[in-house]
């Protein structure tokens, strides 16, 4: 649309169109991964895809919606639990994994009317309490055997090699689908709405933004996404111990990845997940010191680099590889719209 004084709104740049093309090619290349990658690489990449899903979901909530949740492990655990339950009823196991994620989304929908009306810190820790409560309730199910946990035995009907490849493809496809969904949601009307809400809820409401409806979409998609990450993790590890799946460390990882990569940028959490994945591969063996390092890194980023790695790059060079915002151009000088 060409407005007054030669202003124009730009949504794509040649660079961003190229980067989407590169990502699409990369995605297709990754789809052939199991054909040329070793077993260990396939396993590790599956884990990376799960991390990217988690980081993107938390970023969508906090970075775009302003919804800082310390309880996203609720959906991670609920998704995995639902998959185990459905599989025990005789649902084919890979279908059960997908339905587990749908169930997590439904739980998010049911919770949304209550949870989304809590403010700030109340929402953050309220979600944590909800996750703790789900953990305790799941323990009541005899199938789970309390903290002992159980396994998704139905997966044993697949040979380990075939299972590894299926898990890889499922994780890759899930990640791609969720990223495309988030990208189109955030580029569309919802993106403008939730960012207006994040910056000032009252002002957004006065402009006619339907605050609760907009937040609800993000909350439900993020719930289903975290649920899917949970079922994918279950597919790779097979065993289900409630304390592992409902542990707050999942949210700690999500916060770390989104924060280090760049909160409120689309590319940031993907980069953050890769950084986290590399740190875990390199330093994970040093155990407790590694965790101290993670916590300290999060503190340093929050204080001194709050825009994260990608946010800082964006700010300095004005690049957008995956633009969800608007860019107003006038002649040669381009100014970014506030994000």
């Amino acid at each position: 649309m060409n407005g007054r004084a030669g202003l124009s709104i730009q949504r794509w740049t040649p660079l961003s169109a190229a980067s989407v093309a590169v990502l699409a090619v990369l995605g297709v290349a990754l789809a052939f991964g199991p054909l040329f990658l070793g077993a260990n690489a396939v396993d590790r990449l599956t884990t990376l895809f799960i991390y990217i899903i988690l980081a993107a979901m938390w970023n969508a909530l906090a970075g775009y919606g302003g919804l800082v949740s310390v309880g996203q492990q609720a959906f991670f655990g609920i998704g995995a639990y639902a998959a185990i339950r459905l599989s025990s009823f005789g649902v084919p196991v890979y279908l059960a994994l997908l339905l587990g994620a749908v169930f997590a989304g439904l739980v998010a929908l049911a919770l949304s009317s209550f949870a989304l009306r809590l403010r700030g810190g109340e929402f953050a820790i309220g979600m944590w309490v909800i996750a703790e409560l789900f953990h305790l309730l799941v323990n009541l199910d005899r199938l789970i055997q309390g903290e002992t946990g159980t396994s998704l035995i139905a997966l044993n009907s697949f040979a380990p090699e075939a299972r590894r490849d299926y898990n890889y493809w499922l994780a890759l496809a899930s990640m791609a689908a969720l990223l495309v969904l988030m990208f189109s949601l955030l580029r569309g009307r919802l993106g403008s709405s939730v960012q207006a809400i994040r910056d000032s809820e009252d002002a957004a409401a006065s402009l006619g933004v339907r605050v609760l409806a907009a937040k609800r979409i993000l909350f439900v998609v993020a719930g289903a996404g975290c649920g899917l990450a949970g079922t994918l993790y279950l597919a790779t590890s097979i065993s289900f111990q409630p304390a592992t799946y409902f542990g707050v460390q999942w949210t700690a990882y999500m916060i770390f990845m989104a924060l280090v990569g760049g909160l409120g940028t689309f590319e940031g959490p993907i980069i953050g997940a890769v950084v986290f994945f590399v740190m875990e591969s390199v330093f994970g063996a040093s155990g407790v010191w590694y965790l101290v390092g993670l916590g300290a890194t999060a503190v340093v980023f929050a204080l001194y680099l709050p825009r994260g790695l990608w946010g800082t790059v964006e700010e300095r060079f004005g690049v957008r590889l995956l633009p969800v915002g608007y860019r107003v151009r006038q002649g040669e000088s381009a100014a970014d719209s506030p994000r």
Partner: protein, 298 residues
């Protein structure tokens, strides 16, 4: 009779929750700062007291006297270097920094003290198990009574500080609007640093009492944070006496839950917390609707 006993013990347990929630009530309820490392600071204080007692053999109460200024200094530093930015930039930065700090504290404690659980109970002699009989086979532990007493004194002290002293008025002014507070000559930074020091000292008292009444390990902090948070929110933000009531409601709910089912202790506590929040939201709605119906401005 068993129910009466459970309720009485629940009230006493609530005294502990109120004590551990003091600092959180002050920081979250009044200063509007969310501190996710709250529980871990309490555990840190517990370990520090334990370490002093272990080296010197002195009473934990004396050791707490040594640890208190240290924890106060830590609170001051935390406010100055981590939380201060939150004064104007919203809750995201303190939430992220304190979450990172919590992970650092937990794992450093693990590195220093290992996975073994510790307790201060052996160091307080008879106080750990003596009790008063109140008839009908119901006993109230001396330590539980002391915990409740200390909670009442500390919450009362904080309420007095907020309501009756120049520092308290300044704290409330900065919480309301730091810029305007500075216009009238309040040094927002030092007021908040002092307030954080006081808050973290109360957290240290909570940690010491946790060590006397139970055992604790390096990763026990998050559970304490959740209990403290539940007590503060049930009681209502910003009210110190509310936190006392909130702690007691939580303790009674947990004990009654435990009496109903073996794993009902935690479930009942969380459920009551969420129910209180839901009722509060619903009654807010109802009030708005009534006002709209009567044509009064909100």
């Amino acid at each position: 009779m068993i129910w009466v006993n459970q309720i009485i013990q629940g009230v006493m347990l609530g005294g502990y929750y109120a004590l551990i929630a003091c600092g959180l009530s002050f920081m979250f309820g009044v200063m509007r700062i969310i501190n996710l490392a709250h529980g871990d600071l309490a555990i840190l204080a517990g370990y520090l007291v334990w370490a002093v007692v272990d080296r010197s053999g002195m009473s934990p109460f004396l050791a707490l006297g040594i640890v208190l200024p240290l924890m106060g200094a830590l609170g001051w530093l935390m406010q100055r270097f981590m939380l201060e930015r939150s004064l104007r930039s919203g809750m995201l930065v303190p939430l992220l920094t304190t979450f990172g700090l919590a992970i650092v504290i937990q794992n450093l404690l693990f590195l220093q003290f290992g996975a073994d659980t510790r307790s201060l109970a052996p160091a307080i002699g008879d106080l750990a198990f003596d009790s008063w009989s109140v008839g009908g086979n119901i006993y109230i532990g001396h330590l539980a009574g002391l915990t409740l007493l200390v909670a009442v004194l500390m919450l009362g002290g904080l309420q007095l500080l907020l309501g009756r002293t120049p520092l308290g008025r300044s704290i409330r002014a900065v919480a309301e609007d730091p810029d305007t507070a500075e216009l009238i000559g309040i040094n927002a930074r030092s007021v908040y640093a002092a307030a954080a020091a006081i808050a973290v000292m109360t957290v240290a008292v909570g940690g010491a009492f946790l060590g006397m009444r139970a055992t604790f390990g390096p990763y026990a902090g998050p559970a304490q944070l959740i209990f403290a948070f539940e007590a503060v929110v049930i009681g209502g933000l910003g009210s110190m006496w509310g936190t006392l009531a909130g702690g007691i409601v939580l303790g009674v709910a947990q004990n009654v839950g435990a009496q109903i089912a073996p794993n009902g202790f935690l479930i009942a506590g969380h459920a009551v917390f969420l129910a209180v929040l839901a009722v509060r939201l619903a009654s807010g709605d109802l009030r708005r609707r009534l006002r709209a119906l009567l044509g009064k401005p909100a």
